[in-house]
Amino acid sequence: MARMVTTRNKVISTAAAWLVGFLIFFPILWMVLASFKTELEAFAIPPSFLFFHWTTENYVTVQERSDYFHHALNSIIIAGGSTLIAMLIAIPAAWSMAFSPTKRTKDVLLWMLSTKMMPPVGVLVPIYLIYRTFGLLDTRSGLIFILCLGNLPIVIWMLFTYFKEIPKDILEAARMDGATIGRELIYVLTPMAVPGLASTLLLNLILAWNEAFWTLNLSTLEAAPLTVFIASYSSPEGLFWAKLSAASTLAIAPILVLGWFSQRQLVRGLTFGAVK
């Protein structure tokens, strides 16, 4: 009897999970479907779900009108570059704050977070002027720099909370066994921090990939990533839903695939600590 209830519960909870998952996924599915419709069908009321005339003409138009690979490459370089640099700076910073905190550590952490409290548009003009003076407008390095700075507080905070979860006793035990600092870092700390590092890396990559304020405002042509590519397909006067959906599908495809493959690390990293 008890077993039957468990099975039934399992079925119900699985169905519920699928339903919630489907609801969350629905906007993306809808976008993908719309990208295969004609402009008229994409706007039709009532909308057609699966039974419409499937067409790939939107993808052809989008590729004809703008160079997807140029934008995608820029996105990869900018998001990847800013993430790597942010990690290189954030790991030592978080490490030191987690394992040898001073009385100012808390203030420093709060101060770093406070830089995220100002809306970016407030500093747009000064940053634009600085970039103009140093010739950084419409360059990948300029965008890598600003995205790295923008995400750094979040990266440090995330890493700090992961590192803090690692019990100091384990480090002490290693030291008792005669491990040097180098060995302690490589053999004891790193394996324990890998899920945290991986999820921080991935989250930061997604944040940088999706960042639309600075990438739109500081790039023109050469360094323009996928956000600019999408922005060129939206319009308040005219029917552009199908083409916009095609452009958006192309823009999220790489990060979606990456997320798919690394979801195990992401989930493990985000729930790290709670399982202990």
Binding site: L40, F43, V125, A231, S235
Partner: protein
């Protein structure tokens, strides 16, 4: 080894001494609409005639573009050589010396062929600061079949009383047809474009001669009350989130008996590829109340050159090409007369080929002629602009007021409360900007 070195040196000297054509690369910033995309596709025709010029395009949604281009021009960032701007920006930017006057468009450009109202809108102190690429006004689009069935006849220049009555009569919610579709989405270029133009026809104005906001006037009350009442009785549900695109979809699907919006919509609702009612659409001037002003706006997307550009000559050459009569002919030859950019040149409206394929041409021209940016209102005003006041503060104020009016439409506030909130918000902003004390 020596041979290799010689060869390299020889090749290098050849490269250095090779005659080179100095290439000028123009970066053109533009909005995403079908006319601009078409121009993008035809660029090769221009570069074939001007092999020393390369054209690169930055296409953005209009609000993103406005922010992007404003930042660049205000800081003299120099990222763009040709800008696509509207009639709202031209007078403001020209006064700030942000634009280069276009006085070398060439002998055969024929400036006087530009529609007078459109030309006025891009001229400041007698100088042309932008060349109009396409122009629009707004007008009534209505379903001739529904009007015939109800025994109604749309006059060429209807009054608001007629439009309100007709909307209520034609409203058939059970049959899925709403009497009238109008903009309701908040924004200075969304519902406020329509409502400001509508208020002009009711004798209202944004500011008096001393820049005092006028939302406490009886004329504004009548405008907003008429609008909200009409939309509640004969408008589609959820109208407070409808903009141009939503109404276009509703009208094209046959769900609106009337729609008052941009004249460029006419070519979309009469195109059988995109519209179910393509052969059943009639056109009329935007309504009035007999005070001498119609509820129609005026807008032109125009090409301009930012001050400080180092490529003025090439940019001006490009602008002259893109806004010339020859460009119109080029589009007609390649894609047909129905696809030429409308609303900028008198000659287009005399062209029999165009008039044959554009049943809306006559009413578009009449609508553009009926708008007067220099004298937009019944009572005198200190600003230019029909559906906006051409001051830098207007974007912010217009959107704040638009939110109040959108809330009045959705029913979350009353007409009186929305007007008094609009009045106090506008007063506050105008005081802050130093127009009034």
């Amino acid at each position: 080894m020596k041979n290799v070195l010689c060869a390299v040196a020889g090749a290098a000297s050849l490269l250095i001494s090779a005659p080179s054509i100095a290439q000028t690369t123009l970066t053109v910033a533009t909005v995403n609409n079908s006319d601009m995309i078409r121009m993008q596709g035809l660029t090769s025709e221009f570069t074939a005639k001007n092999p020393d010029i390369t054209v690169k395009w930055v296409t953005l949604e209009e609000n993103v573009l406005r922010q992007r281009v404003t930042t660049d021009i205000a800081t003299k960032g120099g990222q763009f050589d040709v800008l696509t701007i509207g009639t709202y920006e031209v007078p403001i930017w020209a006064k700030k010396n942000w634009l280069v006057p276009l006085d070398k468009l060439g002998a055969d450009y024929d400036v006087n062929d530009l529609l007078p109202k459109i030309k006025d809108a891009v001229t400041v102190d007698g100088k042309l600061y932008a060349a109009p690429f396409y122009g629009e006004s707004s007008m009534v689009m209505y379903r001739t079949d529904l009007f015939d069935k109800a025994g109604l006849k749309m006059p060429e220049s209807p009054t608001w009383d007629f439009v309100v009555d007709a909307a209520k009569k034609l409203n058939d919610k059970a049959g899925g047809v709403y009497g009238i579709c109008l903009r309701g989405k908040a924004g200075w270029g969304e519902n406020m474009a329509f409502l400001t133009a509508m208020s002009n026809s009711f004798g209202a104005r944004w500011f008096d001669e001393k820049w005092e906001p006028q939302f406490n006037s009886p004329e504004w009350k009548k405008t907003l009350a008429t609008y909200v009442d009409l939309m509640k009785q004969a408008g589609p549900p959820g109208a407070s989130s409808n903009g141009f695109n939503e109404n276009l979809a509703l009208f094209s699907a046959g769900k609106c008996a009337m729609w008052i919006d941009a004249t460029v919509a006419a070519s979309m609702v009469t195109n059988p590829k995109d519209s179910k009612v393509a052969d059943k659409v009639g056109f009329a001037l935007a309504p009035n109340t007999g005070l001498g002003k119609n509820a129609n706006w005026l807008w032109a997307w125009s090409l301009a050159i930012p001050a400080g550009s180092k490529k003025v000559d090439a940019a001006e050459k490009f602008i002259a090409w893109a806004t010339s009569k020859d460009y119109t002919k080029l589009v007609a030859a390649k894609e047909g007369w129905s696809n030429v950019p409308p609303g900028t040149r008198t000659s287009l409206y005399k062209n029999p080929d165009y008039l044959k394929v554009a049943p809306f041409a006559k009413m578009t021209l009449a609508s553009i002629d009926a708008a007067d940016p220099s004298h937009p209102t019944v009572k005198p005003v200190p600003y230019v602009g029909v559906q906006y006041a051409a001051i830098p503060e207007f974007q912010g104020i217009g959107t704040q007021v638009g939110q109040q009016f959108s809330a009045a439409l959705s029913g979350s506030t009353t007409v009186d409360a929305a007007l008094s909130a609009a009045q106090s918000a506008t007063e506050r902003e105008m005081k802050r900007a130093g127009y009034i004390k």
